[in-house]
């Protein structure tokens, strides 16, 4: 009954196995159901949605809702679709992710390899940044953005997300570099490498997994952020999350559910792609920080 299959697996009887698979399949369906509802309904006509079953597949597939959501539907006062906001989000996310990742790496490097008095206190304070709720910083942040003349601009949003992401990125890189052998840094110092040469030539090339983790984390957070977007964006710097809200919550006209579904998928697509492409690095990267060697 129990013959070894995999070295690390616990041997289980066939009845247990059936039970496990049944449970797993149930949860797979449970988790995939919302995605199915969104995809299938975004391909239906509005009449079909009104008349029928949410869970049923579309009778005749139409791409019209997608076209509408992307470039034609009314958002706020203009009928531009989500396209310009999607572009806004890209313009905001890319620099914010790279800046916060780079600065986090630099922080982690300094905090582990160039220890200075009070380093643990500073790290503790930066950790605190991970736990401060967004709402608390809204008003001071608005004041600072006003003073810098960045209020209502994409530059302002990039700054906000970079600063807010630093706590997490520093945490990631610090923990990763803490396990990085200090002797390598010392060897490079004896070789005459400067502070930044050590960083670029020795540390960064060995940081692949943690860079991927940080980028996924930051990309998802910044892309999905709504509160900062709603608070600090202006007329032409609105990110897609806010635009999606404006689309779905518009109080005039007919509620075009199929367009809403398509728009919601459009807004979620980049994070979905990032996860699918690099999700396995995410898990691997998290492990790499935890297990030495």
């Amino acid at each position: 009954m129990s013959h070894p299959s995999q070295e690390n697996a616990i041997n289980a009887g066939s009845l247990t196995r059936i039970l496990i698979y049944t449970l797993l399949i149930f949860f797979v369906i449970y988790y995939l159901l919302p995605l199915w509802v969104m995809v299938s309904n975004s391909l239906k006509t509005l009449d079909e949605i009104r008349g029928g079953d949410m869970l049923a597949p579309p009778k005749a597939i139409t791409l019209e809702p997608w076209r509408q959501a992307w470039s034609q539907t009314q958002i706020g006062v203009e009928a531009t679709g989500l396209k310009p906001y999607f572009i806004n989000s890209i313009i905001m996310v890319v620099p914010a992710v790279f800046l916060s990742t780079f600065l986090g790496a630099l922080n982690g490097y300094v905090m582990t390899k160039w220890e200075f008095p009070g380093v643990n206190l500073i790290f503790g304070l930066m950790l605190l940044a991970c736990f401060i709720p967004f709402q608390i910083v809204l008003i001071p942040m608005a004041r600072i953005l006003g003073m810098l003349g960045l209020a209502g601009t994409l530059g302002g949003l990039i700054l906000v997300h970079t600063v807010y992401g630093l706590g997490f990125t520093t945490l990631f890189f610090r923990n990763y570099y803490a396990a990085f052998p200090t002797e390598l840094v010392r060897a490079a110092q004896i070789d005459g490498a400067t502070f930044f040469q050590v960083f670029w030539r020795i540390l960064i090339p060995s940081s692949g997994p943690i860079i991927v983790v940080t980028i996924i984390w930051q990309f998802t957070n910044v892309w999905n952020d709504f509160l900062f977007g709603a608070s600090f964006s202006g007329y032409d710097s609105t990110p897609i999350t806010v635009a999606l809200n404006n689309l779905v919550n518009s109080s005039t006209g007919v509620k075009e559910y199929n367009v809403h579904f398509a728009g919601a998928i459009l807004a979620a697509l980049p994070t979905l792609i990032v996860y699918i492409v690099s999700g396995r690095y995410f898990v691997r990267g998290l492990m790499a920080g935890a297990v030495k060697g």
Binding site: P181, E183, L184, R186, A187, A188, Q189, I190, D191, G192, A193, Q197, R201, I202, P205, S206
Partner: protein, 370 residues
């Protein structure tokens, strides 16, 4: 090439003083081994020399130059680390040339230097591999290559052989010794392995608890230890340190040692004013296992051999020798017999003590009595 002088060096981490005033010197072309148990401060001392740790007070001079405050790369040193510290993202070639690249040496010259070092260490065929594709011994060679290519004034080795298996360690030890005699560069070498210290060094410095216990040639350290710590630390098996009582009989000083059961033996002791100061008191009699042998194996050139009957409890054949354990002064003492010496267990057997090798210590201060 240059000499190295360390003058009243102290180093503290916060309130913990790790080095407590080290005075040490090694001449140009010498091989200085820093040896001591874990936590004695030997690696810290090496890092201070390298400039990787800031000293608290005192001075380090390489040649005539005070290197205080100089960046590690400006001290004209090269270091081989315990973990080899090879850059994992670079090939062997990249590892060796990294320092030259940083210093802006031109490509042709780099290539020449790499070839030269690769020939010397026989790592030509490894140049395009990554460190992860190398065995322990190969990594060790590459780490040395990276140091050699700098042609420094002083080489620093931080326990370079401790990650290798026993056989390879012996090979690499020979290799390092050969490299040293070929290049004649001053070397400072940290190890906790006293055999490495004895085989490699021209000068050994024994450290304990941040103090320099003794510095001297391997022969001095081995045969003339200044205190019980040095005597006990150097040598394997370590020196027998036997509790005894110093008495005078017929105008001669001698030590009395409790043996098996109620028996005891007495051995003559040198008559010096210092020894006389301990008359009728306890002294620690120190004698190396190889100075306690079967009578046939005793050193015939020694002018002073004393043979006594001792009770043998255990014998341990070790191939080239046989170690015999005998209780003396309340402890098991090790005598080193010839491999084919007849040893009868549980009986009294004559043992020859080479008294020219005997040393005496004060049990209170642990210092040598001369």
């Amino acid at each position: 090439m240059a000499s190295l002088t360390i003058d009243k060096l102290t180093k503290s981490f916060g309130s913990v003083e790790v080095l407590k005033g080290i005075d040490l010197e090694i001449e140009d072309g010498g091989f200085l081994v820093l040896v001591g148990p874990s936590g004695c401060g030997k690696s810290t001392l090496l890092n201070c020399i390298a400039g990787l740790e800031k000293t608290t007070s005192g001075e380090i001079r390489i040649g005539d130059r005070n290197v205080e405050g100089l960046h590690p790369s400006k001290r004209d040193i090269a270091m081989v680390f315990q973990s080899y510290a090879l850059y994992p993202n670079m090939t062997v070639r990249g590892n060796i040339s990294f320092g030259m690249e940083i210093r802006g040496i031109d490509k042709d010259e780099q290539q020449k230097a790499i070839d030269e070092v690769a020939d010397m260490l026989q790592i030509n065929e490894l140049l395009d591999r990554k460190p992860s594709q190398l065995s322990g011994g190969q990594r060790q060679r590459v780490a040395m290559g990276r140091a050699l290519v700098r042609h420094p004034q002083v080489f620093l080795f931080d326990e370079p052989l401790s990650n290798l298996d026993a056989k390879l360690r012996v090979d690499m030890r020979t290799e390092i010794k050969r490299l040293h005699s070929r290049m004649g560069t001053t070397i400072v070498y940290v190890t906790h392995d006293q055999i490495e210290a004895l085989t490699l060094a021209t000068k050994i410095a024994v450290l304990q608890d941040g103090y320099l216990q003794q510095a001297g040639s391997p022969d001095e350290i081995y045969n003339n230890p200044v205190n019980i710590f040095v005597a006990d630390f150097m040598g394997s098996p370590s020196m027998n340190l036997i509790d005894s009582t110093l008495v005078e009989r017929d105008g001669q000083l001698e030590i009395q040692i409790a043996g098996h059961g109620g028996s005891s033996i007495s051995l003559p002791a040198p008559d010096t004013p210092d020894m006389r100061a301990h008359l009728n008191g306890p002294v620690v009699f120190g004698i190396r296992p190889e100075a306690m042998t079967d009578p046939d194996g005793a050193d015939r050139t020694s002018p002073h051999i004393e043979t006594r009957d001792c009770f043998i409890e255990v014998s341990q054949p070790a191939g080239s020798d046989t170690f015999a354990l005998t209780p003396l002064g309340g402890k098991e003492c090790i005598a080193r017999f010839r491999a084919d010496a007849k040893i009868e267990l549980g009986a009294f057997t004559p043992i020859s003590f080479n008294m020219t090798k005997a040393v005496f210590f004060d049990p209170q201060t642990t210092n040598r009595i001369r």
